[in-house]
């Protein structure tokens, strides 16, 4: 039996907000919900999608941190910023391709989903996966997911030319081996290359 892993099945999400509430109860960040529950094309659909930290194998949030405040544990869990070090610059908030880190102005610190490290490090399920009634958020083994779900679990993402591998899996149709996320290439917006690449006024005028 393989080790426990986190799986997101977006198609199962019913938007009940139970995960948002349960996240507040986590002892590592009590009172602050760090999960994102996104609404997808709200005008036309009731589809929602939970977004926990995907725990990138090479976490870009930690890479861009100028204060050396974001650390990855041996299990691959990317932690919230260390309070004595975080300078609240929000570099990580901007850099994360999944939009996970949250900056809290009142404590001047970035906090993010740490997969309920106090729970998962002792073999218990994260708060959100514990309460999710449709198990769109599931913390179980890959065998169990393959046995009970359709499609397949992947943990590779393609953002433009950037490939990202994550600790958390998402369930996708069988034919998909990697989640492609389209990004708007800034270069295509420009009709002509800028004479001065640092001329912000000209960049915005185009």
């Amino acid at each position: 039996m393989s080790e426990l892993a986190f799986f997101i099945d977006y198609s199962r999400c019913i938007g009940c907000q139970a995960c948002v509430q349960a996240c507040e109860e986590c002892d590592t960040h009590r009172g602050r919900s760090l999960i994102h529950l996104e609404t997808i094309e709200r005008r036309d659909s009731v589809q929602t999608a939970p977004q926990v930290c995907m725990h990138c194998v090479d976490p870009i949030c930690a890479r861009v941190c100028p204060a050396d405040a974001i650390k990855q544990t041996a299990e691959g869990v990317v932690q919230s910023s260390l309070k004595p070090r975080c300078i609240g610059c929000s570099n990580c908030v901007l850099a994360c391709p999944f939009g996970v880190p949250k900056y809290f102005g009142e404590v001047d610190q970035m906090m993010k989903c740490d997969m309920c490290y106090d729970r998962t490090s002792t073999g218990r399920r994260p708060m959100c996966a514990t309460v999710c009634p449709s198990q769109a958020l599931a913390f179980t083994t890959i065998e169990e997911i393959m046995r009970t779900r359709q499609g397949q679990a992947v943990n590779e993402w393609q953002f433009g030319e950037e490939r990202v591998r994550t600790k958390v899996y998402v369930l996708v149709p069988t034919a998909v081996d990697r989640v492609h996320v389209d990004i708007i290439p800034l270069s295509s917006l420009r009709k002509t290359p800028l004479a001065d690449p640092y001329d912000v006024a000209e960049l915005l005028s185009q």
Binding site: V57, D58, A62, D68, K71, T73, Q79, P84
Partner: protein
């Protein structure tokens, strides 16, 4: 994750991996030192305060004998501060009174007065204490006998406390 060899040199000092991070900020060290010193100081003050407020329980005052009961060079057994604590009153040749616990500090046998040696001797292991101040003179005991503070009130001898 990028191979360690591909990392920039400065990354070795600021690793992403938690278990490789051994950096402690000046602020963390200062906080640790301040809190640690504060804790030590406050605990010391607390212990001192407890020691001051909880004074030793006052010893009972008890009449133990009349002056005439003990001849010079003689001794008398009594109990102080409770009836469970045997003590011995000795009077030296000059007429001076001293009193000690009768419990040997070696293995708690009862000591007996040897006026010819001016000693309190323990028969169990041949221990010997000075009859003048209770210091161990010979044998296994290393600690002095607790002294009973006595006071002469007229013709009565009164015990007022214990000096360990």
């Amino acid at each position: 994750m990028a191979d360690a060899h591909e990392q920039a040199r400065w990354r070795e000092d600021f690793p992403v991996r938690w278990d490789e991070d051994h950096y402690m900020t000046r602020r963390e060290l200062a906080k640790f030192l301040t809190l640690g010193s504060g804790l030590l100081a406050s605990v010391s003050v607390l212990i001192a305060a407890i020691g001051l407020t909880r004074a030793a329980p006052s010893a009972p005052v008890r009449t133990i004998a009349n002056v005439d009961d003990v001849p010079a060079g003689g001794s008398l057994l009594f109990r102080y501060p409770t009836d469970e604590d045997p003590c011995i009153l000795v009077r030296d040749g000059a007429g001076r009174f001293d009193a000690f616990s009768q419990v040997c500090t070696h293995l708690s046998c009862a000591v007996v007065h040897r006026p010819e040696q001016q000693a309190l001797a323990c028969p169990c292991h041949n221990g010997s204490f000075s009859a003048a101040d209770g210091r161990p003179l010979a044998g296994p005991p290393t600690r002095r006998l607790p002294r009973i503070v006595i006071e002469q009130q007229g013709t009565k001898l009164v015990a007022r406390g214990i000096e360990v």
